[in-house]
Amino acid sequence: MAAGRRLALAGLALLASITAGVAHGPTALSLATVLSVLVHPTSHLASVIVWQIRMPRVMAAALVGAGLAASGVAMQALLRNPLADPYIVGASAGAGLGAVLTATVVGALVPAGAFVGALVAVAATYAVARSRGQVQTLTLILAGYALGIMLAAVQTFILLLHQHSLATVFSWEAGSIHGMTWTPVGLAALLILPAALLLVPLTPAMNALLLGDEAASHLGVHVSRLQLLLLALASVMTAAAVYLSGLIGFVGLVIPHVVRRLTTADHRQLLPLAILWGAAFLILADTLSESVPGVGTVPVGLLTAVLGGPYFLWLLVRTQRQGVVF
């Protein structure tokens, strides 16, 4: 399939999932009503439900899905590692500690604490792994791992001292977009959208990076600068996603893989496709997580794993049978 058709298909999927997301909810609204208030907002209840309750939530899911997928594409290219995800260099542990610190010490501002924690942890990992202007990708992974374990230990210790905060932190860690308003969505959009756009001109150099740092530099890529840019942009998107939704796993690891397997590893196509499919997937997962039969609302982070996991395993088995190497 040509690049344009793939993009158009992904764009349509995103539009369809946005429509499904705003049409579905505890208050029954007909599709005609939803479409009419989407085009002409009024002061009626239906319009308020669509624009003030459902739309912020759908946009938050879209931003988180797009941001995590783009961040995953960048991290997998930077680390040349299929196991890399947005959280691999310490972002999740940093966000967790930031959330716990704000929950226990301040008693509020948990998302902001998580945002700052994620960025500080990635910066610390980068500072440790950098020597003589260069970053060895394996050192970056190992430093991120070690730092993650240390931060998690501190987090557990603080939680043990403040057990009343356990419920807040636990529900935050499960990842949820419940009760979203426009203000945090707008803030996150100001970070995620420009970062994703800035990644686009880097995609040809990301292809070169797949050959290795040295080969990329032989081809004229300024490798240390590219590494820093990719890490910074990916971390800003991850931190903003964490700020909106807590720790939603799976999307950042698997959406890039699924898109790569079904289309191409060429980052010029992979990045925009992963952004669109990541957004569409998370909107759909979040919509379904609203009303799980017999349970009610569950954290969307659980649903992404339950929905996406089996599909990814099936895709692995199928492409393995076709003789494609992982």
């Binding site: 997998q76 040349r80 590692n81 299929p82 686009v200 001109p201 995609t203 040809p204 150099a205 292809n207 070169a208 797949l210 050959l211 290795g212 040295e214 080969a215 530099s217 032989h218 081809l219 004229g220 890529v221 300024h222 490798v223 790569r260 590893a265 060429d266 010029r268 494609v324 190497v325």
Partner: protein, 259 residues
Amino acid sequence: MKLSVDGVARRHAPGFQLGPLSVAVDRGEWLGIVGPNGAGKTTLLRIMAGTEPPDVGRVRYDERALAQMGPVARSHARAVVPQRLTLPFDLSVASVVELGRLSHLPWGERLLPLASAERILVEACLEQTDTWGLRDRSFRTLSGGEQQRVLLAMALAQGAPLLLLDEPTASLDPGHARQFLELVGTLVADGHTVVMAHHDLTTVAQACSSVLLLADGQVEAYGGVDEVFQPEPLSGVYRTPLGVMPHPVTGRPLVFHRQ
């Protein structure tokens, strides 16, 4: 382009130092670097490529100091064919070879399919290296020898006047090895400058115009093929009795084991 290495030395982990040594390779010359495992061949190539800076001394491309050149200027001046590359994901052979053009394209064009002049150039590189038929395959599914030819195609696509080759024919069958060396030979005749690290002494003797023999990071012999390829120093450096006789067809040195 003339490659000059002046008084370059590089200390690695305790107990090994390359150089100090000086080498010059002019346009239309093909220098072979030979020596036992761990002699410093790859380190010297990396210093020549600018991948690794020397502790002392300097490398120049014509009159420009390599240390003063940015990554793009370097990529226009020299191309490197590594021993091997591993890719974490499936990129097609054509995409890999197209990466050779990356630093020549303005930012806007890098995001689009190649313009026709560029595409013709890339296709010529695929044809020259006998990889045209592999262009839609994933690089990762190729054999070692096929990958080596694709890497040469990528280096050719860079259009650089200096080529640095690290064991380029190590995994090629005799037919493709000869084809590879003949192709490099025509580039040298066209005025390219080539440096090749290699283990096969007879291949170096047939192909190269001059030879640098390294052992333990030091120069044991440096000069024309006939000067360097003598029973001594070869036997001493490789710690095995080696003999040299004229090749029955080319008349150039043919190295053999005396036992």
